[in-house]
Amino acid sequence: MRIHLIIFLFASAIALNAQDYGTFRGTVKDKNTLEPLIGASVILRLDPSFGTAANINGHFSLQLQRGSYTFLITYTGMKSDTISFRIDPGQTVERHILLEPFVSQLQGVEIKVGKFDKPIEEMTVSMEIIKARLIESKNTQNIQTILDYVPGLNILDSEPQIRGGSGFTFGVGSKVAVFVDDMPMLSGDAGRPYWDFVPVENIEQIEVIKGASSVLSGTSAVSGAIHIRTAMPGIKPVTKITAFTGGYTSPGDRSQKWWDDYPYIAGANFLHTRKINNLDLVLGGNLYFDHGYIGAPRADSTVYDQSHNFDDSRMATQKARLNFNIRKRSAKYQGLNYGINGNMMYQHAPINLAWLNDTSGFFRGYPGAVFLQDQFITNLDPYINYYSQVGFKHSLKARILYNNNHQSNNQDLKSTFVFADYNFRRDYNFLQGLEFIGGLSTQYSFVNATMYAGDGNDINRFLNVSGYGQIENNFFKTLTLSIGLRLEYYNMNGHESDFQPVVRAGLNLRLLKETHIRLSYGQGYRFPTIAERYIRTNVGTFGVFENPDLKPERSWNAEVGVKQGFKFFNYFGYLDIAVFQQEYSNTVEYLFGFWDSTFSTLGGAGFKFLNTGHSRVIGADISVTGAAHLAEKSTLRTMLGYNYIIPVTLDPDYVYATDIREKEYSYETTSVDPAGNILKYRFLHTLKGDIELEVHSFSLGFSAKYFSKIMNLDKAIEDFENTTLLAGGTVQPILYMDYFYTNNNGQWIFDIRASYRINDHHQVSLLSNNFTNNIYSLRPLKAEPMRSVMLQYVLKI
C-alpha cells in the first residue's frame, strides 16, 4: 500500500503500474561497521542518469521493466561494486551490498555534506568540514573552540566571522547562520548563537559554508553558515563517558594572577546510543564547571562607584545539559521514520565585555561591564521523514524552544521560538538525474523583555516565512550545475514587514579525476533582530538605544575555486584554493554616539545599531586536508588553512547618522585608522592548522592558529580611554590603545595533545590549550584564556 504524506511543493511523483515492472531492492552498508551508507548511488551502468540512492536505513528500491541489468553501487570513499541480474514483471530481486572502504585513498577525508549529501569535492560552494574525531580528541566542551580552527572562520568572542564578513557587535545579529541538524541555533531575540547548547558529545561532523548562502540556510547567512550534524545510533549500542579535569595555569606575569584558590575545570559528558528493533535512541548530557580565567571587577580605590565589585566565585561557569533523540523507523511503511529530539540546559555564566586594564587587570572584568547570566533553555523537536521507493524524500521538522535568561543589570528575558520546515527532495532520474530540493520554512519568535521596549512594549514578535527551491544536475559525471531561489517574508510586531527574493547558482566541473573547479554566486539577506531594532536599556552611564528604522542587510558572494586531490608518497589529500569577492550593503554596526537626550544617560550618550553603508571583501582561501598511512597502524592526519582578505568600505565618506549634537557619523569619523579604508575588527591574515600522528595506541596532536593584527577599530574605544583617563581617577580608566599599538602584531596560539588508547574501552589524554601561555587579546578589551592543562579519560563500551 502506498502512503502519501503531506504535500508536494514543486513536483509530483510518477504513477507506476506495478504489473509491468519488477522490483530491484536491497541495502547498501559499510562492510566494516555495517552502518547504512545513506545516499549511496545505485546507478545503471549503461545509463548513469537512471538509478536511485540509498535512504537513511541504507535501503533502496527501483521499479524495472523486464530485462537484464548491470548496476554500479558507489559511495564516496568506498570501493564500487557491480551487480548484474535479470528481472521479469512482478519479480523482486533483492541484494544486500557491502562496500569496502578505500584504505589507501583519502580515507577520512572524503565525506558527504550538505542537503544533497554530495561528496565535498562535488560541491559548488566553498565548504570546510570538521569530523568527530578532531572534536573528540581536543576535548571540546564548547563548540566555539573547535570552530575557531576552521580556516576562514573566526570566533571573535562568541561571534562568528566568515571571511571577514562581519565585524564585532557583541554577538548580536550574527551574519553567520548556525544550525544543529537543520534546526536554527540563533536566539530569536538577538540572533546570537546558543553555542553552549550544542550537544558536543555527539557531533558527527561540522560543515562550514563560506560565502552568502541564504537560499538554503535562510536569514542570517549573509556571510556563511555553520551546520552541525549529530550522530544517530549505529548497529552496536555505544556508551561513552568522558571525564575531564584540569585547570588554568598562572599567567607569565604573576601580577595578572587574581585567584588564590585552584582555577580548575572539571566535568563529564555521557552518551548512550542504541537501536532497539526499529527504535533509535540517543541520550547524552554534560556537566561542566569552569572556575573562569577572568576575575570579578575590582575598581581602583579612588574610583567613586565600587558597587560592581562582586565576589570572584560568581565568575565561574556551571552548566548541566541533557539531551535525547528518539527515532522510530516504521516497519510497516518502508522509508518512514519519525521521532522527537529534546535538549535542556541550565547554565550560570558571566558575560565579560571589557577587561579592567591592559596590565595587571588583563584578566579581570571592568566595573559595570560584567553581567551574570542564569539561563534555562529547552527545546523539543518533533519530526517525520519519508523516503519513497522512487527517489523522493519528504521531511517535516519542527521546533519549540523556550529560553529564560535572568541577567544582571535588569536584562531579564523570556523568549519562545517556534520553527517548522517542510523539505522535499527528489532525484528525477528520467530527467538526466536532476535533483530537486525545496521547502517551506517558518519561524516565529515571541520575546518578553523590558530591555526591548523600544517599540513601546516589553513584548515583541517576529515572524519569518520562506519558500525555497534548488535544482542540481550532474552532466556526464563531469559537470554539476545548481541554481536556487528563496523567497523570504518578514514581519516584526505586525507593522514592519519585508519581502525579499534571494538566488544562488553554482557550477562544479570535474576537469580530471581528482580536479574539480567550482564557480558560485550566492546572495545573503538578513532582517534585523528584535534586539537591534528595539533594545532600549542602560549599561552603566550609557544607554543602548533602539533604531526602528534599521534596514535589512544584504550581501552577495562570487567565487571561483579549485579542489585538487593529490597523492604525495603515502599522503592523500585535497588542496583547495578559492578566490572570492563579497559585497555587503546596509551593513549593521554597533556604534557609540550621542543619540537620545530623552534617555537618562550622560548627555544622551550610548550605543545604537546603525546601517553603515557598503563594503567589499576580496580574498583567497587555501587549504590542504589529508592523511597518510605511514606504516601498519600509523596514520598522520593534517588540516591546514590560510585565509587572506582585503575588507574595505566602499563609502568611507558616507554620513550614515547624525547625532543630537549634529555630529556626523561616517567610516572616516568613527575609525581609529581610516587611511586604508579597512573595515573594523578584521584579521587580514589567518592561518589554522592541525596535525595528528597516531602510532598504534598512541596519538600526538598539535594545533596552531595565527591571527594577524586588527588594522582598524572603532574610534569610540580610543575616546573611552581618553575620557576615562580625564576623570582623574574617580572612574576606572578603560585602557586599550597602548595594547593595540604595542601588542597588536599578530598572535600565534598553539595547542598540543597526547593520548593513549589502553584498549578498545579506555583512553586517557593529556591536553594543553595555548601551551606557550601566550597572553593575548583578539577583540579589543577582551583577554583570551591563558594556558590550560586538562586530563581526559574516555570510557567507551
Binding site: Y304, F594, R661
Partner: protein, 313 residues
C-alpha cells in the same frame, strides 16, 4: 598655630591701612585640599569633580590643576578645555557649587545657601573685579571671569534667579587672543539693586561656555575686589579691625566677648598665608615683618567673616 615670619626686611615701613573690604576667599589659589587621594582642589573653590551629583562628578573630566607658574606666591589655578567624545568640556571653577545633570543644558553653578562649604557670605559692594591671567586659546576661544553678588539663591546661568542678583562683574578676553604674559584685567561691577548682597558667586571658565574649543587653557591668579573709597557706595561700611603700628599688627574686636571663636588670617595677594591664629583676647598685638605690598586680613567669626585690605609702603 602661628606661622613663622617669612621674611625679615627692616627697611619696610608700615603704614596704617588705606583700603579695606571683603575679598573672595583664597583669591590667589594658594591653599589646596584633597578631594580624593590623588586629586586636589583649591580651598573654598569647587569644580565639576565636587558637583552635587557624586556619580556625574565621578565620571566628569578633570579640567583643572594646580600650577606652579604663579604670578605671586607658589601656585596659580590652571583651567583647560578637554574633548570628551567630541564634546568640549570647558575648564570651570566656582566658589559656590556646580549642579550637574546628564543633560548638560540643565547644569549650572549655584550658591548653596544652606551649607557654608558651598557659599561665600558677602555683604559689601565692591567697585571692580580685578585679577591676573594668562590665556592660550584655540581658535576664537575666550576665557571668562564672572562674579555675581546676590541675596537668597542664585545660579549661573540664572535659571530664574535674576531677581536675586544685586550686582555683577564679568570679564571676557578678546576672542582668539593669546595672553602670553601675566595680564591684569579689571572690570566694574554693575549693580541692579540698591541693597547689600548676602553672597558672592564667582565662576571662572577657560573657554566660551557655548562654543569652547579643546585645549584652550588659562592660568588665573590674584583675584581682587577693588574698593575705591570715593566710589564705594557702602551703606553698611564697617570699622577696621586691624591696625598696623610700627612693627606690630593689632587686631581688635570692638564688641566681641567671644574672641575664642574668632580666627585671624593674614594672606598676601597670592593667597599665601602669612599669619593664621586663633584670637586669645579681644585685643591682640602681633609682631610682623613683611615686604611692602598689599595684604588681606580675614577675621572669621562663628557666624560671619570680615575681610580688610592692608597696604604696606
Amino acid at each position: 598655630m602661628r606661622r613663622p615670619l617669612l621674611l625679615l626686611n627692616l627697611s619696610i615701613l608700615l603704614f596704617p591701612l588705606l583700603f579695606y573690604g571683603q575679598q573672595i576667599d583664597n583669591p590667589g589659589f594658594e591653599a589646596w585640599e584633597d578631594i580624593t587621594s590623588i586629586l586636589k582642589e583649591p580651598v573654598n573653590w569647587s569644580t565639576i569633580k565636587t558637583a552635587d551629583d557624586p556619580y556625574i562628578a565621578s565620571v566628569a573630566p578633570v579640567t583643572f590643576e594646580q600650577s606652579i607658574e604663579a604670578r605671586t606666591g607658589d601656585y596659580a589655578l590652571k583651567l583647560y578645555n578637554v574633548n570628551a567624545f567630541g564634546i568640549i568640556a570647558t575648564g570651570a571653577i566656582t566658589n559656590g557649587r556646580f549642579h550637574a545633570e546628564f543633560n548638560i543644558d540643565n547644569s549650572y553653578a549655584y550658591t548653596d545657601t544652606t551649607d557654608l562649604q558651598w557659599h561665600q557670605p558677602f555683604t559689601w559692594r565692591p567697585d571692580s573685579l580685578a585679577g591676573w591671567f594668562r590665556f592660550y586659546p584655540q581658535d576664537n576661544d575666550i576665557c571668562q571671569f564672572k562674579v555675581i553678588l546676590h541675596v537668597k539663591e542664585a545660579k549661573m546661568p540664572e535659571f530664574g534667579t535674576l531677581p536675586n542678583w544685586v550686582g555683577m562683574a564679568q570679564f571676557r578676553s578678546e576672542p582668539g587672543v593669546t595672553y602670553d604674559n601675566w595680564t591684569r584685567f579689571s572690570v566694574p561691577f554693575e549693580y541692579f539693586q540698591d541693597i547689600n548682597p548676602r553672597y558672592l558667586l564667582c565662576v571662572i571658565n577657560s573657554g566660551d561656555s557655548i562654543s569652547a574649543f579643546a585645549d584652550s587653557w588659562l592660568l588665573a591668579d590674584d583675584l581682587e575686589l577693588i574698593y575705591e573709597p570715593s566710589g564705594i557706595n557702602d551703606p553698611v561700611a564697617q570699622e577696621p579691625f586691624v591696625r598696623i603700628h610700627h612693627h606690630f599688627l593689632t587686631i581688635e574686636l570692638a564688641n566681641a566677648s567671644d574672641y575664642l571663636n574668632h580666627w585671624f588670617t593674614l594672606t598676601d595677594l597670592s593667597g599665601r598665608i602669612i599669619i593664621s591664629d586663633q584670637l586669645s583676647s579681644n585685643r591682640v598685638a602681633l609682631p610682623v615683618h613683611m615686604n611692602r605690598g598689599m595684604y588681606i586680613a580675614t577675621l572669621q567669626g562663628y557666624d560671619k567673616k570680615r575681610t580688610q585690605k592692608i597696604m604696606i609702603h
